[in-house]
């Protein structure tokens, strides 16, 4: 297809996808769709590769999703059919049970010319806990009712029986049904728009356009890769816990860029977990969940990027089976979003070594989604409500500070006005704002963390904070920039009843109790000693940085509201002497951890675990961590032999 027609076709394809998105957004029922915008829509080619997505509505994860495997699990299609699935282990399309994916084949003269597709996150799909998500769950069967790829509509007829089974098993059937109808409406809108495109362009040019757009995106992605020097970069990032109160979970990436293609080898990542933090990717070398961080990097390097499946063609992912990034059935996967956040920072870290001049430091990298369940003392009714997501700042950029209180890969989240929440929910906020001294120090400072504090008034008030992480391992700084301050969760701070909750995600409060939560701050970029003193002074007058930290981290001495240049020069010279060059600064927690779990020790651990049957791996990892904590002087192999000796079933 000629390049003029291609651009015209691109606009029409995007318009079709946007029409679908607006139809879904406009007519959906649940808060999940309306407020969180946790849905996507796509147009795909007949093989299920994405051709077009909407640009400003919905979630950011699926421009490179592949429907092909799931599509292929239904033997044949007729006009009016709609396929659906929410099973993370059939076709590796859905990535946890609340996500319901659907696809509608669009026929032209008896042949499928494309599919209208998408997903919605249902508030609940049944299972062990409300909302179907909890770190405590250990196998997929606890996470709700699952449907393998099958037809929800057959030749335009709804399969009422299937629907009844679904609605019987979920906690909010009316919401699921309302969203489902909106979704069907969106798919039908997509079909209508595709028909208009077929009429305008003709079927041959339509087919050519679908491929042409993917080629175009592929070309853009390859151009970006070609501009990056060839090389190999390795990086590890850690989630604080691999299960409730558990050990750190390591994600590992070796990124190889050669010419205009790249290999992402995740070998060395932890074995699959006996918690719901696993990320199901089905050994797909271009699984979209493995590539979300890549989309962000590519869009940062070329903001004009066309988003579709073509982007993923230059990339090959390797994620060994039985690991946290490619778990085998029936590992639980519900809370994969926590691990996905680490997966993104893992990718950012690897690319930041390849193009350090072009990328920011780590963003806060975790957003705690806060919910409260309490009783209204006046009406005695139970109130269940979402409080604000607690989002952290962006990482220091090559040209400016990280954004405060949101940004980077958390920029899509919205908050709820304090006044609305206080009117609807019997809680009282004491504070909602930015946390001073939480951004990583740097030539460009990391974005500040958000802090939220509120008081409750009824007994048995339950707070859940999903996606708690980064309260131990900090968002890293680069090129001399310091790490952001870690997150924290504290009950009754500054009182005799203070309780530090760390990564705990459920807490019960008494009347009069106050809960404090703050996100992590973003990492800093470049040496803080090179930040202009006036800029440091401005941060101090704005309350973003304290005078004490201005001195200790930035070497800027402020006296009577002005920079003492002479004293600053002396102090900076002294501090400069103590600095060692390193691309990353992780902070004391990870440095201490890596004193024990050195690169070599962790490699040993990974090798031992990888050689074990899948069902032993997580268990043995836990035992090895415990044993090594007790005997830090012992090597990993040695500890393993001791552990093994006490376990008769382990061959």
């Amino acid at each position: 297809m000629d390049k003029v027609t291609l651009e015209i076709f691109a606009n029409h394809a995007r318009a079709a996808a946007e029409n679908m998105a607006y139809t879904l957004y406009r007519t959906a029922h649940s808060t999940f769709v309306k407020e969180t915008e946790d849905f996507t829509v796509q147009l795909t080619d007949p093989s299920g590769n994405v051709v077009a997505v909407p640009m400003d509505l919905g979630a950011t994860w699926y421009p490179g999703i592949t429907y092909g495997r799931a599509i292929g699990m239904i033997p044949e299609y007729e006009p009016g059919d709609i396929g659906f699935t929410n099973d993370p282990y059939s076709g590796f399309l859905a990535t946890h049970a609340p996500d319901l994916h659907m696809w509608k084949p669009i026929f032209h003269e008896g042949e499928i010319v494309c599919f209208a597709c998408g997903h919605i996150h249902n508030t609940d799909m049944g299972g062990a806990v409300p909302a179907s998500l909890s770190r405590t769950l250990t196998e997929i069967h606890q996470e709700g009712i699952r449907f393998p790829p099958m037809k929800l509509y057959r030749r335009g007829e709804l399969n009422e029986e299937l629907l009844r089974v679904m609605l019987l098993n979920v906690r909010k059937p009316e919401q699921n049904l309302g969203d489902l109808k909106a979704f069907i409406g969106a798919l039908n809108t997509g079909e209508r728009k595709v028909r208009a495109m077929l009429e305008k362009f003709g079927v041959e040019r339509f087919r050519a356009g679908l491929q042409g757009l993917q080629d175009y995106a592929e070309h853009q992605a390859r151009e970006i890769l070609r501009a990056i020097p060839d090389g190999q970069w390795s990086f590890s990032d850690f989630a604080d816990e691999d299960s409730v109160g558990g050990n750190p979970c390591r994600l590992r990436l070796t990124l190889t860029i050669q010419g205009d293609s790249a290999v992402l080898d995740f070998t060395g990542s932890d074995p699959q977990l006996t918690s719901s933090l696993n990320v199901p990717t089905g050994s797909d070398p271009r699984h979209t969940l493995l590539l979300v961080g890549v989309y962000y990097v590519l869009c940062t390097l070329n903001p004009q990027l066309l988003l579709n499946g073509g982007l993923t063609r230059p990339f090959t992912c390797i994620a060994p089976e039985g690991t946290v990034l490619n778990p085998v059935f029936p590992a639980a996967v519900g809370m994969r979003s926590l691990t996905c956040a680490r997966l993104r920072s893992l990718i950012f870290g690897a690319f930041s070594q390849a193009v350090p001049e072009k990328l920011p430091a780590a963003p806060a990298g975790t957003s705690s989604i806060m919910n409260v369940m309490t009783t209204d003392n006046r009406t005695q009714q139970t109130v269940l409500a979402a409080v604000n997501p607690v989002v952290g700042g962006g990482g220091g950029m090559p040209h400016r500070d990280g954004t405060n209180g949101s940004g980077a890969d958390g920029a899509y989240l919205k908050n709820t006005p304090i006044e609305i929440t206080e009117t609807e929910v019997p809680i009282q906020f004491l504070r909602y704002g930015l946390l001073p001294d939480s951004g990583g120090a740097g030539r460009w400072r990391g974005g500040l963390a958000t802090v939220l504090e509120f008081k409750v008034f009824a007994p048995n008030t339950r707070i859940t904070a999903r996606n708690r992480d980064r309260s131990r391992f900090r968002p890293w700084g680069i090129l001399g920039g310091g790490p952001g301050r870690p997150s924290d969760f504290v009950l009754n701070p500054g009182t005799a009843r203070e309780r530090v909750l760390g990564n705990t995600d459920i807490v019960t409060m008494d009347p009069g109790d106050v809960i404090h939560i703050h996100s992590p701050g973003g990492g800093g970029r470049g040496s803080p000693l090179e930040r202009e003193p006036e800029r440091v002074l401005e941060d101090v007058t704005r309350g973003y940085v304290s005078a004490a930290v201005a001195e200790s981290d930035y070497g800027v001495v402020i006296r009577d509201g002005a920079v003492d240049l002479a004293a600053t020069e002396v102090l900076r010279a002294r501090l400069a002497g103590n600095r060692t060059p390193a691309h990353f600064r992780f902070g004391p927690e990870r440095e201490a951890f890596e004193q024990v779990w050195t690169e070599a020790a962790y490699a040993e651990l990974t090798a031992i675990l990888a050689a074990l049957p899948v069902h032993w791996r997580f268990f043995i990892k836990g035992r090895l961590f415990a044993e090594r904590a007790a005997h830090p002087q012992m090597g990993v192999r040695e500890v393993y032999e001791r552990v093994k000796a006490g376990l008769p079933g382990l061959a």
Partner: protein, 680 residues
Amino acid sequence: MGWRIGVDIGGTFIDFCALDEATGQLHTLKVLTTPDRPGQEVMEGLALLQSRHGLAPAEVESFVHGTTVGINTVIQRRGAPLALLATAGFEDVIELARLRMPEMYGLFCARPDQLIPRDRIFGVGGRILSDGTEEVPLDAAGVREAARRARAAGAAGIIISFLHAYRNPAHELAAKALLQQEAPDLFVFCGAEIWPVIREYERTTTAILNGYVHPRVDSYLASLEAALQARGIAAPPMITKSNGGIMSAALGRTACVSMLLSGTASGVMGAGFLARQAGVERALTLDIGGTSADVALIIGGEAQFGTGEQVGDFPLHMPTVSVTSIGDGGGSIARVDGFGVLKVGPESAGSVPGPACYGRGGERATITDAMAVLGWLGHAPLAYQSVGIDRARAEAAVGELAAPLGLSTAATAEAIVQVSIASMFAEVNKLVARHGVDAREFTLVPFGGAGPMLGCLLARELGMAQVMIPRRPGVVSALGGLIADVKNDFIRTLFVELEEASLPALRAALAGLRDAAETWLRHDQGFEGPAVLRLSADMRYRGQSFEIEAPLELGWIEAGDLDALRGAFHARHAAIYDFSDEAAPVQLVNLRLVVAGTTAPPDFPRWPEAEGEPVPEREVSVWQDGAARPTPLFRREALLPGHRFRGPAVVVQEDATSCIPAGFAARVDAHGNLHLSAEG
């Protein structure tokens, strides 16, 4: 019988519409803007009206002015240094905003810098709860201290915005009184007095925008008032508002925020008026300028209203005529990217340097250049003789792209137009999708300098069969002011369940709103004519996190007709979202009242129908669908009511050129509007 004058300031020109009520004749003219001496051009225009059309200043009955002083102050960030007093613990209210950032895929997404930096935001002790009760009294010492520090930091004015002040403004008012003692030289605005609505960020930003533009707007309007008086115009000047109405300039000096988006609003009101007059009830208005295009829907003859429109980098949360601005204009620049794909925009040559064919220093090909190359433009000067078209420059600029595309210069120009139309199609499509309407049921009403140039092409892409080009596309905004009502919005947050027990609160709120509206119209505006009140409410199903506005009848609340109130919401919900839930409990969040003192619409004369075909001035050659085709060129003045002709045709006039491709049949109506219908 006297004169009614509407004046609208644009980027390059200031437009005048003067209606001589004695004859029903509408005179229009344009004067170049003088950015360094705002207001000067108004006087110049009046002098021209006097000399050309015999306008007598004493006979001016109404003078309506749309000014861009406010919005330019925000865009150029040249407003007053302000301080903000916020509830202690919530000082970051404007920086956190609603969190979500405009651009989600890149790691460099960022929020714009705030109008008040953090070091001039002061937390003040004191707490009002959500039910309006005081939990902690106001910290008076803290207010005084903040005043001292604000002044030391160089603030010219102070905004006070405390939590739940929409419910109980006592702390804001007490703090204001303290500030007026402590710092009488600083002006003060409170959040709850500017727009008393629940949602702290939205309320605070609105008050800040008001304070930010206040000194400039105040001084501009003061000098305008003085100059008009000196010229002998006794009628108090009125200014246009973002809500499509007007208010006295005297009031505008403090209620500045309500005029920020008046420019786009009066364009839509003007286009809506013309459409209605021509019997068109559903219109998509399209105002294309140099850098952007503003698109709006007219449904049932009425403009649509919303909140959250952008003013520069900031959302404005007062009722505003809904306009979607898209980044495609006559100056959008074309380029070929690394994959060989032709792109148009978002980069724009604007009006300076402008398209290459303007000969003002622009060198890169724009949409306007492409139209010149094709032969649609270049037969008459544009914009009231002020811009000549240099076709050779256009060909040189477009020619630069011909080689990488492997096309002839003419084919490249055609490709540029097609691509830009496709990009506008995608943007307009979003607006249409968001409203859940079908563009094909609407008439496209293009206006502004470049609207009539691209209107038919865009209509064809959108599948719209009807286009109406107003008789004077260049002065539609000025006309919008001329026909506008004296209008204001009032709001009261209630946040109650829609049930029997809430009726007393509803009645009290309605009475309060009616009092406020009455005072505003009759006392503040001194308006004596007929007025209408329009009541509506923002409602939601319990558990929803957003509200929708439903129109209500005034009598329902007094009569306690809860079913009618609920029914209005269910119906609106169904209209917008395609479903309603009659069994679900309904909450009423805000009660809104609009008061409009009505302006009698001018009765433009209908011209008698002419006979026969219009006579083209000459024939020109226009490149269309791959070949040069002979195309008749008409002067707009020569197109008389009743005339009919077929595309292709070029219609030139002082303020715009209309491009009518083959496949459209044209008809001139009794008011001189050009109606184009897609054939077949």
